[in-house]
């Protein structure tokens, strides 16, 4: 199959739709022979980003669409998340405070910290009235790549 190939899905800004995003990512990853570990990591990163959009992008609420484009390329997989919520560049997410000695860490910011480690690149652009956030995971694709990895 010649690459790049893009799969396009649209969900509502409803937390219940998150599982559909993971499933779509799973289908695409399997179809293009993405190895299990990068696929899992990209799924979690995508989940973190989309759940943040659902929770924070529209302070006034209301029903909105979130568009997700998953593109398989020779050098890996790219996921673009497009929403018409308030402007937010995920690369500007504040760093977590280190917990005080003997204290448990606060939960805020854990998702952003994980996402940075789960993908190779995070890009962002505000185009018109929309946020375009792109996560890139570099990995080899194809049957040889996916079968070479232990589950």
């Amino acid at each position: 199959m010649s690459l790049p190939q893009t799969t396009h899905i649209v969900i509502r800004n409803d937390i219940a739709d998150l599982a559909a995003v993971t499933s779509a990512m799973e289908r695409v990853g399997t179809e293009y022979g993405m190895p299990k570990t990068p696929l899992f990591q990209l799924q979690v990163a995508l989940d973190e980003m989309v759940s943040n959009v659902i929770k924070y992008a529209w302070p006034a609420g209301g029903a909105h669409d979130i568009e997700i484009r998953i593109t398989a390329r020779d050098e890996g997989v790219e996921v673009e998340i497009i929403d018409d919520g308030r402007m937010f560049d995920p690369r500007d997410a504040p760093k977590r405070d280190k917990p005080l000695p003997g204290k448990r860490p606060q939960p805020g910011g854990v998702g952003a910290q994980m996402t940075k480690q789960l993908v190779d690149r995070i890009d962002y652009a505000r185009i018109g009235s929309r946020n375009h956030t792109t996560l890139t995971k570099r990995c080899a694709l194809g049957p040889a790549a996916s079968s070479g990895e232990q589950s």
Partner: protein, 115 residues
């Protein structure tokens, strides 16, 4: 195994309440896990062992629940202990900088031997 559902089942080993978790924990169902943990604490459980062996997928929503439940346990003079973290799920705990935030044992048997 289905990735999209969260499964929870409790059992008992002496004074320890074991909650086996399986499947997927995300923003959509993390509140169900918190409700279950709060319910066990409210019922007077003092040691809750969370077995993650069957967890296939989780996001930071799970960490939020664990941090909140651990604090709640402390307020009730109880404790929440984790076991069965492996592979990619364990790596997520490491990436979130959370492995040190909880009491974590290897297998369920390892954990029960410590109580």
């Amino acid at each position: 195994m289905k990735k999209t559902a969260l499964r929870m089942e409790d059992s008992r080993a002496g004074p320890v309440c074991i909650l086996s978790i399986g499947g997927r924990i995300d923003s959509g169902n993390a509140a169900d896990l918190l409700d279950r943990l709060n319910g066990l604490l409210a019922a007077g459980e003092k040691t809750i062992l969370l077995d993650f062996k069957e967890v296939l997928y989780l996001t930071s929503a799970a960490f939020r629940v664990l941090l909140v439940a651990t604090d709640e346990a402390e307020r009730n003079a109880a404790r929440v202990v984790l076991c069965g973290l492996a592979g990619q799920v364990r790596e997520l705990f490491e990436m979130g900088g959370l492995l040190e935030a909880f009491t974590v044992h290897g297998s369920r048997e390892d954990a029960l031997a410590k109580f």
